[in-house]
């Protein structure tokens, strides 16, 4: 990390609303890790899922406007966004615009053309690859020992692999490793890349109740105290809709759903309000308060077998 890390930053619409705490903790963590985020001036909506369900030229133009604005910034090495939906739109748009015919159709809708000069990455990818768990670990002032997490990446952070070009498309590990670097435990979670029901919460709530319900059931049965995610929509479905899910499925989950940036922030010594924990629907405070006692119990348990069989 000798050279300065400087990026064009695309916050995404939900960061100003339903995922404010993700936006807030992302900015705080990036600053603490020496990553400079330069906001794309006057960025606009990427079109999200609705645009690509209507037309691919429209979708690519809405994303493309932001790619073109980012290319005008000085000295940035990549375009970063916290949101997987924004990420996929920006990346798919950049990928499809490598075809000159398609690029011409999209550029005809724009005031200024896309030159496609910068790579697009998630904040997760940048923290994992450009900083890395090994550099993160020594900065930790409050290890989250005793916290068992189900790391949930959502469906589109890593798929399809030839466009997303990050981590493994069936079993991603970036978030697992970062959580381990701050002292937490990532439990096995086979539904890491399953869909939560996406944006059907409003129009077809039954779908989200079924799919997100399965995620919470599996996280709980694998021993997780909480879910950790990198996606605003996944977080909202699992956290804000958890009561709806419980009623529909006759369950009684009370499982906090963190953004991974909130946990990294806490481990770096930030206060709960600095990372927006009070904005989560299912309060994680009792769980976090129980961590010192759990860490103590773990340390005691680890001592016993070590004193018994000291082989080395």
């Amino acid at each position: 990390m000798s050279q300065k890390l400087r990026y064009a930053y695309y916050p995404g619409c939900s960061g100003q609303g339903t995922s404010k705490e993700y936006e807030q903790s992302t900015r705080a963590v990036c600053e603490a890790l020496g990553m400079e985020l330069v906001d794309i001036p006057d960025w606009s909506c990427c079109g999200s899922s609705p645009a690509h369900t209507v037309d691919h030229r429209l979708s690519s133009a809405l994303s493309g406007r932001n790619l073109a604005l980012a290319e005008r910034l000085e000295g940035v090495s990549a375009i970063l966004t916290p949101c997987p939906s924004c990420l996929t739109n920006l990346k798919v748009s950049a990928h499809k615009m490598k075809d000159p015919e398609f690029a011409a159709e999209v550029n005809a809708l724009l005031d200024f053309p896309v030159r496609n000069t910068l790579p697009v990455k998630s904040i997760l990818q940048a923290i994992y690859e450009d900083v890395g768990p090994d550099a993160l670990s020594p900065k930790v002032v409050r290890r989250l020992t005793g916290l068992k997490l189900a790391p949930y990446y959502g469906c589109i952070m890593n798929r399809p692999p030839d466009i997303m070009e990050f981590d493994d498309h069936e079993n991603p590990i970036a978030m697992d490793r970062l959580m381990e670097a701050v002292g937490a435990e990532a439990v096995p979670f086979p539904l890491k890349v399953e869909c939560c029901g996406a944006s059907f919460g409003v129009a077809r709530r039954d779908i989200v109740q079924k799919l997100s319900g399965k995620l919470l059931d599996t996280a709980a049965s694998n021993g997780a105290d909480a879910v950790v995610t990198a996606c605003p929509l996944c977080q909202m479905n699992l956290d804000l809709r958890q009561d709806q899910i419980n009623v529909a499925n006759n369950t009684s989950h009370n499982m906090p759903v963190f953004y991974y940036t909130q946990l990294i922030g806490l481990a770096l010594g930030m206060t709960p309000s600095q990372v927006g924990l009070e904005k989560l629907e299912v309060s994680p405070m009792a769980l976090l308060d129980s961590l010192p006692a759990r860490a103590e119990a773990q340390a005691q348990a680890a001592k016993k077998p070590a004193s018994k069989g000291a082989q080395s």
């Binding site: 999200s48 899922s49 133009a61 809405l62 809708l109 469906c155 399809p160 009070e278």
Partner: protein, 186 residues
Amino acid sequence: MNVIALSHSQDRDFIAQVEKESGQNVSLCYQCGNCTAGCPYTFVYDIPVHQMMRLLQAGQKDTLLSCRSIWLCATCQSCTTRCPNNIDVAHIVDVMRHMARREGYSTEYGVKAFADSFLESVEKNGRAFEMGLLLRFIGKTGRFWTDVDLAPKILPKGKLSPLPHKVKNPEAIAKIFERFRQECQK
């Protein structure tokens, strides 16, 4: 089991159009079923993914454009990622949904209304305005009670702004939509 009389209903132009718009070779599908096996949405589909692919090979335009599945695909990319013949299945479904829109089908009106409300909000403000798009959706569908139980949870947290966060120059975004409509009319 559904029996299809191919001599009456096979639409070869439809197959060609889907292939052109998606850039995919539809005949590569050999019905292994991997797409359906991994699709989280089969439980709400009227036609599972591999059957959509088979119906597409058979040129069954009306059956496909009027089915619910094309609206209920969330583009989670499971089918595309796991296809052994590298067919971008999710892209094909996206293209069939574009065609269904153009030809006036909307078998899942709520899903279409949500997407429309979202894009109207973007066209007006330059960014998605969550409260506004929810109100638009309710206006279109008359579903007044949509997520009313979430209001007391989310409002005190200050996460749902009553006013849009506009871009500096919303006309720049409106112009993208305007040019798009002009292109479509050509």
